[in-house]
Amino acid sequence: MKVARAIAVAVLLVVSLCALFAGKLSSPDYAFQYREVPDAAPSSAHLLGTDDLGRDRLSRTLYGTRISLSLAPIAALISISLASLIGGLAGFLGGWPERITMAVTDLFLCLPWLFLLLIARSLLPLNAAPLTSVLITFLTLGLLGWAAAARVICTEAREFRTSDILLQARATGQHGWRLLTMQFVPRLRPVLFAQFLISIPVFILSEANLGILGMGVAEPLPSWGSSLRELESFSSFSGEWWKLVPFTLLVLVVVSFQVLLSREEISL
């Protein structure tokens, strides 16, 4: 297990470093079209070849990694903040606020996540500027993904509300905001961290799902989702292994997160 964990950390580290130095490792302009060599096989000029518009594949993959890997955690942060607010408040108040909030959360969890995402995303402008489309995509992910985490946090908050720890702290005179931040927040931290880690691969995959359907990050900005788009049919990549690189990267990163997670949960 230790070895697997070390490998996972190494994979994530290498991938993030590559994404960070995308400009150094490949052509710095991911959108430049080399018109004389479209759809080329790997060569010393283009290590992973070019796509049908003549854009450098390596550069697009690395910049796409940068976008997916940096925005998924941000989306996770948004959804965890929402979840803490909603779940924490419901758990602390108890009674009917808790019942109503949890009913809404359950309803939210019943809706099929991917369809919900598709509907929400298609209601929002699809022809927005590339950068806006990135923001819209990940904001949608963040705003829709809070329900599961809210349930967990609500349970934690309810447990704390009825615990002897709170009773003992109140009996020493502690109260109010300080009591919350001193006694409850440190207790919640491992749970929040685990929920945060769980959400990241979910959001990476969801973005890829949206991207395949052309509802994610808009061209010419690359992302893992849009890189996967050309894998629609088997014939389009048979014998051309380099087209599978973004997909392999995606699988590697998601698997690495899962390996880290299983460790995290054991240590909880």
């Binding site: 002897d164 003992q168 005179g173 109260h175 001193m182 207790r187």
Partner: protein, 261 residues
């Protein structure tokens, strides 16, 4: 009148919970300064409810207390929440049954003690460390940095109970409420903790409301015993030396009271 014999706490309360009426029915208790009063009764007879109503924390269990709780000449039920907060931990300390579930598992012991100190004291950190060290040694615990850095999971149950007691007597309260403080401990540790309570009572003059269902331990340290059955005090009697030595007859007598419907 000698200060030792003035009344510290006298109460007459009835308590209802949201889902259960008449948990305490006109319960009268009187506690003198520096006295140890044992409160015995079966599980569910309302012993802990009395502890919570004195601290006015009953609302945490959805309960409402009516009546009169006179503490040092003030009726606690009339105080504002702010005034009540300044009493909790400073004038009245609480020790709960299970130290492992009462101390925060993710905070170091030192941090929890400091937090309990700074609620009622000004923020000189040197003074704070001194008081904590002094209090810890008075409950026979080490007070080196290594011990203060530990968490509840890294010390024994007996040590954790001592930490809880240290936290409760940090500000030298005049009343300590101990709610079944020994029932989670083994026999040897129980005896040590009982000795500790007796010592705190004699050295610091802290009055103790000792709640327990363990008649032997109550008989060992209490000056008087009140027996609570189904929300009513059915008997109050002093513990004499004679009673202590003939503990068998005394136990029979007490359990006779408890069985009375």
């Amino acid at each position: 009148m000698n200060a030792e014999h003035t009344s510290l706490l006298s109460l007459r309360v009835s308590v209802d919970y949201a889902n259960q009426q008449g948990v305490l029915q006109d319960v009268c208790l009187e506690l003198k300064r520096g006295e140890i009063l044992g409160l015995v009764g079966q599980s569910g007879s309302g012993k802990s409810t009395i502890a919570l109503s004195i601290l006015r924390l009953l609302h945490m269990k959805k309960g409402v207390a009516r009546g009169l709780i006179n503490f040092s000449g003030r009726n606690l039920l009339d105080l504002s929440e702010r005034e009540m907060r300044s009493l909790r931990g400073k004038e009245i300390g609480l020790v709960l049954q299970s130290p492992l579930s009462s101390l925060n598992p993710v905070l170091s012991i030192g941090k929890q003690l400091r937090e309990a100190w700074r609620i009622h004291a000004e923020g000189d950190s040197k003074l704070c460390s001194d008081v904590i060290a002094q209090t810890l040694s008075s409950v026979a615990l080490p007070h080196d940095k290594d011990f203060l850095r530990r968490r509840v999971s890294q010390i024994s149950v007996g040590q954790a109970q001592r930490v809880l007691i240290a936290m409760a007597v940090l500000h030298h309260p005049s009343l300590l409420i101990a709610d079944e403080p020994t029932s989670a401990l083994d026999v040897v540790t129980q005896t040590e903790i009982l000795d500790l309570f007796r010592k705190l009572n004699q050295k610091l003059g802290i009055a103790i409301l000792y709640i327990s269902h363990d008649l032997l331990s109550v008989g060992a340290i209490c000056d008087r015993i009140a027996v609570l059955v189904a929300g009513k005090i059915v008997e109050e009697l002093p513990v004499t030396q004679e009673l202590r030595t003939t503990s068998c007859a005394y136990l029979q007598q007490l359990s006779g009271f408890i069985r009375t419907p």
